[in-house]
């Protein structure tokens, strides 16, 4: 092909330009889909429960990711502050993942269980009341806004299309029982979603307002789950190195 024919044919120029600039992305991304050990083989990682899904939605819609990362890097200082480095497996059901690219606030990948529910609620309402030097804005409306979970089933189906194993049929349910145990499989069954969400909201007094399901309930339930799925004490030093 003559150089001139590319230069004078803008359509062709666009197509060829796109082809060239996508090489960089393709060679970095595509192999990850077929390299065997990209996602570690690890016990405990499961899809989010309905309440956690809504909490995650709020996390995204309030823009928490703009200041908080959810990825602990394999460095000694990060280990000492945040805990074990994050595994790819731990965000395998995240669509989209919340790794983030900037830390204005601390990393949240293992924040689950680090603070009490009261602390999380009070801190989200008014961060400076607990951490005077904090620059995080308050989110007091979360405690006042009833949680809208009317579309929870649709949300789960959408995530299912993206590859998260929520179950709709008996067959899929059975597969989940096999994989995550019966108790968890029940929570991942789409037809149960509304009941499961209400039960989880009532089971623990996430936001200090019993009898009411607020957005705070969902967000705190989500935060308290973060990074708690894998029991790292089961694995010896260096176990996860084999996946790199």
């Amino acid at each position: 092909m003559k150089h001139e024919s590319i230069e004078i044919n803008s359509g062709l120029l666009i197509v060829l330009t796109l082809a060239v600039i996508s090489i960089g992305g393709l060679v970095e991304i595509v192999p990850l889909f077929h390299i065997e050990d990209t996602v570690e083989d690890v016990d405990g990682v499961r899809p989010y429960t309905p309440l956690e899904i809504r909490g995650r939605d709020i996390y995204v819609s309030e823009g928490c990711y703009a200041c908080h990362s959810q990825m602990i890097r394999p460095f000694r200082d990060e280990m000492l502050r945040y805990g074990h480095y994050s595994l790819a497996a731990e965000s395998q059901y995240d669509h989209p993942f919340q790794w983030g690219s900037k830390r204005t606030g601390p990393d949240l990948a293992r924040v689950g269980g680090k603070y009490s529910n009261e602390w999380q609620t009070q801190h989200l309402v008014n961060p400076q009341s607990l951490v005077p030097e904090s620059i995080m804005p308050g989110y007091p409306w979360l405690l006042e806004t009833p949680l809208d979970y009317s579309q929870i089933e649709e949300r789960m189906v959408a995530l299912k299309r993206a590859g998260v194993p929520y179950s709709q049929t008996q067959e899929e349910y059975d597969a989940n029982v096999e994989k995550f145990g019966k108790e968890m499989a029940d929570k991942l069954h789409v037809p149960n979603a509304t009941q499961v969400l209400e039960d989880q909201a009532a089971a623990e007094n996430w936001d200090g307002k019993p009898g009411e399901i607020t957005e705070m309930d969902a967000l705190v339930a989500y935060l308290q789950m973060l990074g708690t799925m894998v029991d790292f004490s089961k694995y010896e030093d260096g176990h996860f190195n084999q996946f790199r």
């Binding site: 394999p74 460095f75 000694r76 480095y85 009490s116 009261e118 030093d237 260096g238 190195n241 790199r244």
Partner: protein
Amino acid sequence: MSQPKKNKPGQVETTGHVWDGDLREYNNPLPRWWLWAFYATIVFAVVYWILYPAWPYGDSYTKGINTVEYTVEGENGEEKTVTEHWNTRALFTKSMQSSPSALAQQEWIDKVEGMSFEEIEQDPDTLQFAMSVGHGTFGDFCAACHGAGGQGKIGLFPNLADNAWLHGNSYDTIVSKIEGGINGMMPAQNVPEDTIDDLAKYVLSLSGNAEISGEAASRGKQAFASCAGCHGQDAQGNDGIGAPNLADAIWDVADVPGCGDDLGCKVDEITHVVNNGIQRQMPAFGDRLTETQIRMLAIYVRQLGGN
């Protein structure tokens, strides 16, 4: 490249292409140093491919010839050396084991591990190390609730910087609370409305925050009987179950000091606690921190309260 005839001095060569009769394109070759730097990056890339993980193929990738060595504990407790292709996780494992800072710290951690709390208190250098690690750990794991100086927050998180200890101040207690967490619970009391005022004033009178006498005092004292099960007959508290002393000037849940001299406000504070009870949790840190970290943290926390 088509090279037209040499131009006059000061005139830049053109590529030789002519458009529309008289439009020409200057030919400014890249500077030599830039060109060589560009070739150098290509050479660098090839060396990199050989040394480090680089090219994907099938379900694997080229691992490179560079390696990282670290040790793991084998099944029989003996150490064995593992050699892996260069990767950040192996480097991390190695840096946790043998980076200069890890080694320097490990030396002191070994010391702390081999000493009792009393021995550490007697050894200024080890104590200073434990305090400094404790301080850092406190900042990362405790300060969010208890405050950077351990001052806590009335109503939510206990003050660690005063000398009142809800659960006692022995090292063993502090360690076990950090390891296992605390479920702080006072059940809501069903006190009749006509007695609650007397009860509140009676409780306040124990610490000199109110005066109460005569019948009101005896009604209040009678109502306090149901509190005495936990707080004690003399309201001195019970650190076995975390019931605070109500007869001292320190307030943990009801913000009595915040009321100043306003008796009505003080009564409201007490009434609120009595009617609603308390539900507070401290998370368990046994999974997050090592035993030695917790011991050093306990030393730091204990001295916060002046011990």
